[in-house]
Symmetry: none
């Protein structure tokens, strides 16, 4: 069951852009039982796309093509695919109606060129796009499946999840890639690996992958499973790894750290407010990514200036003058202060030096304090993070969520 | 002068890894006067690599292939290239000697398998590797150049810089890709295209690409330039496009919207505070992405709950009860309120329904108000954005920045 992925777009042939859709698609195709044997990036040229598609139809059972379904002149996938398949294209009135409705709902007129997005290749099944204007297409040609998807990642995944996966499930080859995931915060990649290597080395049939991103580590345990086969070895390895990693594992269910924190807040009936200096909103943005977070998240203060720390979070000016804005004392005062003004059970604060400017010998770029307060206690955590401005801010956001998680864990107390 | 890039390695066909060598290579090839028209990722299979190389030799003047030159079993590029070219392979004694010397200098024995790295395709020029064991090869075949490079990025760039670039310089066509970029906010992709299509259609020698991301549109104008040639047509097209797009163009210098806003705030000596409901920090996070933004950004309030709107931004509770939190009146009150508590010249606010819950017939998911206040005036803007929770929040953040930019533009007054 060979599959290949084609990304269409001249912008993907520049030094600035790389195709990332294929990572998601490779994962999903592999899980569905396909072997991805080729990935190609091609520009917005009808001839190039057509030539590539003809070759792909000869060598692959499943071809997923992303991009070039937009309304503009340089969107040429429909035309190229029709030529490669020697089929006609015509306007689908249902798709056109749906497009019109979409624009009408937003109260803006639909431009004439958007009508191109209602053009459908003869014999294609429409893959409705729940989050954008360009629908995808599912085309069967001599035993091969050609799947056309929109290029923007959000639209591509939405169409794939809602339209393509259910079709794959029906076709079902039987063999599937099984995966267990452990998500970890508080250890480095090499600390994780040195703990788990002695364990996974005795499971040669299971592929173990350690991935790091934005302060969290994921460990993937994967192996192929036939329909008549169990996966007790996978479960066993996962359990043994959890044992050596302890409570640094924050989920085995692929949740984000903010989802875990949200779950713990709900379960304990507590509410949260944040005071953010160097992250200036990133922590609030992360917490509120979780739908329904308004049940426990009150909001907070972006105290980027010292005056905001004093005026809105009640930090004594002497504290700022005596210790500096980036200090343990100010981090704790911010946590207490925002908890008080927001009437929340917990206050979580962040203050640090994200750079590139503002660092000193004593307080270097990357120095960060996280403060945490509830009705009884107040504490802080100090870290020095490496990397550029964006990285420091991202690691700080994750660190604050990680700190809060530890505090919320059953049986845990602030040290 | 068509070029294509082939990345070899089964690990690049997994969900964890993406080929990034091609970004560097695209940059260098483009600068050297080539048009990169195709990029392919292929696994460690002699047959697959051979088939691909045969096709590449027919369609491209220059083929750069990375990876598969290591010493192990799964390094198959040499064998595959020899088959595609129908040439023999033999051990090169000089390369072998250099390899032995390299190991000897490090005081470690050279494994037998490393000898494979001294195998050279008949007629190839050796591209010495200053930082690793795998040398590259430069092969000329019927007017095409096939360049084999090691896969590790550090080795690939070292070989390219020291061995390939000097050869390109000798061949030197001198042609380069020139680009002009227009960044636009406030129009849809199709609105942009319908304005500019009549203009760019009379410049067939210039490639125009329209790209949409997170509420902003980029238009790229590109064409090849010979050493003795001017680019007055590119400048002319850019100027004519700016004319039809008017002040929806926020930069021609590849800046982000928050950088433009920061520049305008600095220039006008004004300061800013934000009140964020549905975006809950995303706006503050965006504004503070710009290094040095503390010069004009005071911070703000994440007023996720109604109490925060009342207690910290001074929104009258009657207003919330009468109009609802997502309303023009509350957006304006938030902008005025945050401006007042933060002692800033300008207050910018956001309130909306990001979903998935919370929508109604009258106030659907995606409904957003942006408020803006300075000492003299207060105004609001209403939008209904499509998409999921994340998209609505992202588009809202961009819309607020866009609104602020319009307000800060010289000669602009709040309508």
């Amino acid at each position: 069951m060979k599959a290949e992925i084609i990304a269409v777009g001249s912008e993907l042939l520049t030094p600035e852009r790389v195709d990332t859709n294929s990572l998601y698609l490779t994962q999903k195709l592999t899980e569905a039982g396909f072997a991805v044997h080729l990935k190609t990036v091609v520009g917005d040229s009808v001839d190039d796309i057509e030539t590539l598609l003809r070759a792909a139809l000869r060598r692959s059972r499943c071809i997923v093509l992303c991009g070039g379904l937009g309304p503009t002149e340089d969107d040429r996938t429909r035309a190229a695919a029709a030529k490669a398949l020697q089929r006609t294209i015509s306007t689908d009135t249902e798709v056109l109606e749906a497009l019109r409705l979409r624009f009408a709902r937003r109260g803006i007129p639909m431009a004439k060129i958007n009508e191109r997005q209602a053009e459908v290749i003869a014999g294609a099944q429409i893959l409705a796009n729940p989050v954008g204007t360009a629908p995808g297409m599912w085309i069967e040609e001599k035993g091969a499946w050609l799947i056309l998807l929109p290029g923007p990642p959000r639209e591509m995944t939405a169409v794939f999840e809602s339209q393509v996966l259910p079709r794959f499930a029906e076709l079902g080859s039987g063999r599937r890639l099984e995966r267990r995931t452990l998500s970890i915060h508080g250890l480095t990649e090499s600390e994780v690996d040195s703990r788990i290597a002695p364990v996974y080395q005795s499971y040669p049939g299971i592929q173990t992958t350690v991935l790091a991103a934005a302060g969290c580590i994921s460990v993937w345990l994967q192996r192929w499973r036939s329909p008549d086969e169990g996966i007790s070895d996978l479960e066993e390895l996962s359990a043994r790894m959890q044992k050596v990693l302890g409570d640094f594992v924050f989920t085995t269910a692929d949740e984000k750290l903010e989802e875990v924190v949200g779950r713990l807040l709900r379960a304990s009936g507590q509410s949260l407010a944040v005071a953010e200096s160097c992250t200036a909103g990133m922590l609030g943005a992360a917490i509120s990514r979780v739908p329904g977070s308004s049940a426990y998240f009150h909001g907070g203060v972006i105290c980027y200036s010292n005056d905001m720390k004093v005026d809105l979070c009640g930090v004594p000016r002497e504290l700022l003058e005596g210790h500096g804005a980036v200090s343990a004392a100010v981090a704790e005062a911010l946590a207490r202060g925002v908890r008080s003004v927001a009437h929340s059970s917990i206050g979580l604060s962040v203050t640090g030096i994200a750079g590139p400017g503002g660092g000193s010998e004593e307080k270097p770029v990357g120095l960060v304090y996280v403060g945490l307060a509830d009705a009884m206690r107040c504490t802080h955590m100090r870290r020095i993070f490496p990397g550029d401005r964006h990285t420091v801010r991202e690691l700080t956001t994750t660190a604050a969520l990680g700190r809060l998680r530890r505090f919320l864990m059953p049986g845990e107390t602030i040290p």
